[in-house]
């Protein structure tokens, strides 16, 4: 065997992690309660999602289906309809049928390099099992399924927060990287999630380790 053949045989074992390149749902979410507006997020792919969301958040048949999601650490029923602007409208009601929380959203699944598919309402909700809320004490809480974390003190001076946690929702433990950015003008914030770190992994703070 020549040196070239040996070298090729050896370095052929280097393969990118196929799991890393699975198509991942990205999301755009605007929530109308408490006047907070979740802003466009930093990752390029998610900005594409924001740009495309109007076109893809199509009719789900008017009224109305009820789905389940996690909200502020609790599993709740959510009524889904389609708003005039084409986005899905989600409503959470209390035991008396009063709407306690309403929010809208939509999304696209971005394949590699621009191939797109609209998300169903359930997929949009599943992509939003992460939630960030400022509570009555002024603490900023990050909710993920039934987990909650106080991230108030984890922001850098420029209003950015990079955290990660273990995501077991797919049946396998994977690290979910979360980038959060405050907008001082509106008081809102935006965030993106990804199974790949944006920048150095060392910049992310573990929430559950």
């Amino acid at each position: 065997m020549t040196n070239k053949e040996k070298y090729k045989e050896t370095f052929r074992v280097l393969q990118p992690d196929a799991e890393q390149w699975e198509v991942q749902p990205m999301k755009h979410n605007i929530r109308t309660f408490k006047t907070k507006r979740i802003l466009a997020v930093a990752a390029v792919v998610v900005i594409l999602a924001v740009a495309a969301v109007g076109a893809y958040a199509a009719d789900v048949g008017g009224i109305q289906t009820t789905l389940k999601t996690w909200f502020h650490g609790r599993e709740v029923d959510v009524d889904v309809s389609t708003g005039e602007d084409g986005e899905y409208k989600f409503e959470v009601k209390d035991e008396n049928g009063e709407v306690t929380t309403a929010f809208g959203g939509g999304g696209v699944e971005l394949g590699l390099f621009g191939k797109e598919r609209k998300l169903s309402p359930q997929e949009v909700l599943d992509a939003n099992n992460l939630d960030i809320v400022t509570n009555e004490d002024g603490r900023m809480m990050l909710y993920y399924y039934d987990q909650s974390y106080d991230i108030t003190d984890l922001f850098s001076a420029d209003g950015k927060c990079k955290v990660c946690l273990t995501d077991s929702s797919t049946g396998r433990d994977k690290t979910l990287y979360i980038d959060i950015e405050l907008d001082n003008e509106t008081g809102g914030y935006g965030y993106s999630t990804d199974y790949r770190a944006h920048g150095s992994k060392a910049d992310y703070i573990w929430l559950d380790k």
Partner: protein
């Protein structure tokens, strides 16, 4: 000319990943470099002469980025290579030894060695791709081979 990014990705993802890894020696960084390289291709308006021109451009972008990442990470003194090697299944013990020997080479030898032995580029092509002189490439190749021979003994032939 331009080629579809998805098609290029399927064709060259392993080459770009292996090239990046051969320099940065870190799987997570190589994954990031792979993503960044193809994203850069997707976003550039640059026109290419041929698919071979695109391939060389992708490898150059990946190698340059890998050098930056490696030098930055080196300063942080992180060495996860051994852990990663345990996850690889080499076809023979000699392959594992060759991999270790290449990874132990100085960074500026590794990229030249990789382009020559894995990508089948000629000295002239490597010089153009890395913006080096031909004599510089020859020196790096020769010194890299010598170090591999010292490390591997009879498992590294005296041929090219």
């Amino acid at each position: 000319m331009r080629s579809d990014t998805q098609v290029l990705f399927e064709t060259y993802r392993q080459n770009v990943y292996a090239a990046a890894f051969s320099v940065c020696k870190n799987a997570a960084d190589a994954e990031d470099i792979l993503q960044e390289t193809f994203l850069q291709y997707h976003q550039t308006n640059k026109q290419f002469d041929s698919e071979q021109h695109i391939r060389a451009w992708l490898l150059r972008v990946a190698l340059n980025r890998a050098k930056d990442v490696y030098r930055k990470r080196k300063r942080r003194n992180e060495t996860p290579l051994e852990d990663y090697m345990e996850t690889l299944t080499f076809p023979s013990p000699e392959s594992g030894a060759l991999f270790s020997a290449v990874m132990a080479l100085p960074e500026h030898y590794r990229s030249v060695i990789h382009l020559f032995y894995y990508e089948d580029y000629t000295i002239d092509e490597i010089a153009k791709l890395l913006h080096l002189t031909q004599s510089n490439v020859k020196v790096r190749l020769s010194r890299g081979r010598k170090l591999l021979k010292e490390s591997l003994g009879e498992d590294w032939n005296d041929d090219e």
